[in-house]
């Protein structure tokens, strides 16, 4: 079952208008913990403390500042911030279409499912769009304003559905060049054995195979402690790194092992 409708909009380009409802696609499960005071186990609260008075400051006495110079701030009030918010509109404007292969996955942020908003002749336009996107293997690059924020995203088709995947802005993606990686020469043999090893370890993507085991083990550990049982402290083992001059041998041994 998909999540509830979080927003309604209409995809627009040329003469086409497809009203849709947005749904979240993911529901994260997590064991929550709280921070406690060691001596009496009282649950602690996060507070904004004044650096000088060392006293908590309630929300009404807080102002938002942007540091323009060392220790000097420009104050913005909520009304001014609101004014910078984009005008609300229900339009998801498609500016262009691009081949899906051109979108580097690193730009993909959050995905929303789109449900046809049935005012549109029973989803015909919606289905036509799905079919067209699939046949041309393209995604629509669009912008929209949702809940006072501007978004930029890719409209994609999968099976019978349309999805909207928000994209990160170009200046948010850190270029590989800034990592300062060294260029290290590799022998053709190392590359060949390495490639063979990967092919040997190739498998189809079966996400169902993977469950959150850590979560279950954590739950067990918590229950054990609650019962007053002792738990063993295991130290994480660090693997010994493969020496550069041993690389070829280790690759060959791995290949043998995988066969």
């Amino acid at each position: 079952m998909a999540g509830a409708t979080i927003w309604k909009g209409s995809i627009h380009f040329g003469d086409t208008d497809v009203p849709v409802k947005l749904h979240t696609a993911v529901k994260e499960e997590r064991i929550q913990f709280h921070f406690l005071h060691r001596r009496d186990q009282v649950r602690l609260r996060q507070q904004m403390i004044c650096a000088y008075e060392k006293e908590p400051v309630p929300a009404e006495q807080q102002s938002k500042g942007f540091e323009v110079e060392d220790g000097k701030y420009v104050i913005v009030d909520p009304a001014e911030l609101d004014q910078t918010a984009p005008e609300s509109s229900r339009m998801i404007e498609v500016h262009e279409f691009v081949k899906t292969g051109q979108i580097d996955p690193i730009f993909l942020d959050r995905l929303y499912y789109l449900e046809p908003d049935m005012q549109d002749n029973q989803g015909k336009e919606y289905s036509a769009l799905v079919k067209a996107l699939k046949e041309l293997d393209v995604a629509g690059i669009c912008t929209w304003n949702m809940r006072k924020r501007s978004y930029f995203g890719a409209l994609q088709a999968r099976e019978k559905m349309l999805r909207l995947n928000t994209l990160r802005y170009a200046d948010q993606v850190i270029a590989v060049g800034s990592l300062d990686l060294q260029d290290v020469p590799l022998s053709e043999k190392e590359l060949k054995i390495g490639s063979e090893l990967i092919e040997k370890m190739a498998a189809p993507f079966e996400p169902g195979k993977f469950g959150n085991e850590h979560q279950k083990k954590l739950q067990e550990m918590i229950e054990k402690k609650a019962r007053g049982e002792k738990i063993a402290i295991l130290v994480p083992r660090r693997l010994k790194p493969t020496e550069s001059d041993q690389l070829l041998q280790v690759l060959e041994a791995s290949l043998k092992k995988a066969a």
Binding site: A25, F33, F35, H37, R38, V42, L44, Q46, Q47, M48, I49, Y52, E60, Q61, K64, G65, Y73, V74, P86, F97, P105, I106, G123, E125, S127, A128, A132, L136, V138, I141, F152, Q156, M161, L167, Y169, D171, Q172, I174, V176, L179, Q182, V184, G194, L197, E199, A202, F205, F210, E213, H214, A226, L234, V235, P236, R237, R238, L239, P241, S254, K257
Partner: protein, 260 residues
Amino acid sequence: MAVQGIWSGTISFSLVAIPVRLVKAIEPGRISFRLLHSKDYSPLARRMFCPEEETMVPRDEIIRGYEIVPNQYVLMTDEELESVSPERSRTIEIVDFIDMKEVDPVYYDHPYYLVPSKGGEKAYRLLVEVMRRTNKAGLAKFVLAEREYLVAVTSRDGALALTTLHYSEEILADEDLSPKKGKTAAEEQNRMKKSIERMIENFDPGKYADKRRKKLTDLLATKAKEKAPVEAPVVEQEEGAGPADLVAALEESMRKVKPR
């Protein structure tokens, strides 16, 4: 030394082990503000506060607890937490190599980069190169902080990128959202295809800027010109404050200083 890391450990596939560090791949786009005390503009800091004793609590007095029954907690130290999945807290073990095309984008969570630690540069480069040649990605699980992630390790532009993925149990179904009817006329279908084809371009994300961020920057520039920025007051403490030994020693030294 360039970028500091979020995590450090080893990435392995079969018998090959590569020491690496995990670093950011994405920078936040937002303009960050500082919260200030309205009355005198002193900067505020986030601290842990004990509501019973009404004091701030220093880091070494803070412990993590899981609520099993209302107001009853099971305490957990950092070592105990690392003991839950010890192998996976320090190692990203690639168990399968997959074709990323098989991964539905709905699975993608957050990207990072891996950079080699000292001694791992060659093995790192090998993995980058062979994944590029075979067009495959490594699938692994690892534990970061107290969470275990399913991750895809890919070769990107000469580096290893690590993307955390959602678990299949966390992906919501979408069957109930699909259109019920709707077979479109061929003519209608063609019109739409042509409409789309006319708008095909090359993907250039640089064309799109965060408009709100720009508006905010402009607002801040205008405000900075209109009015002088505010400054927090410097703490005025009582005179003579300072450790007794230090003050005494300074007084002693002062006596010997040449008059000028």
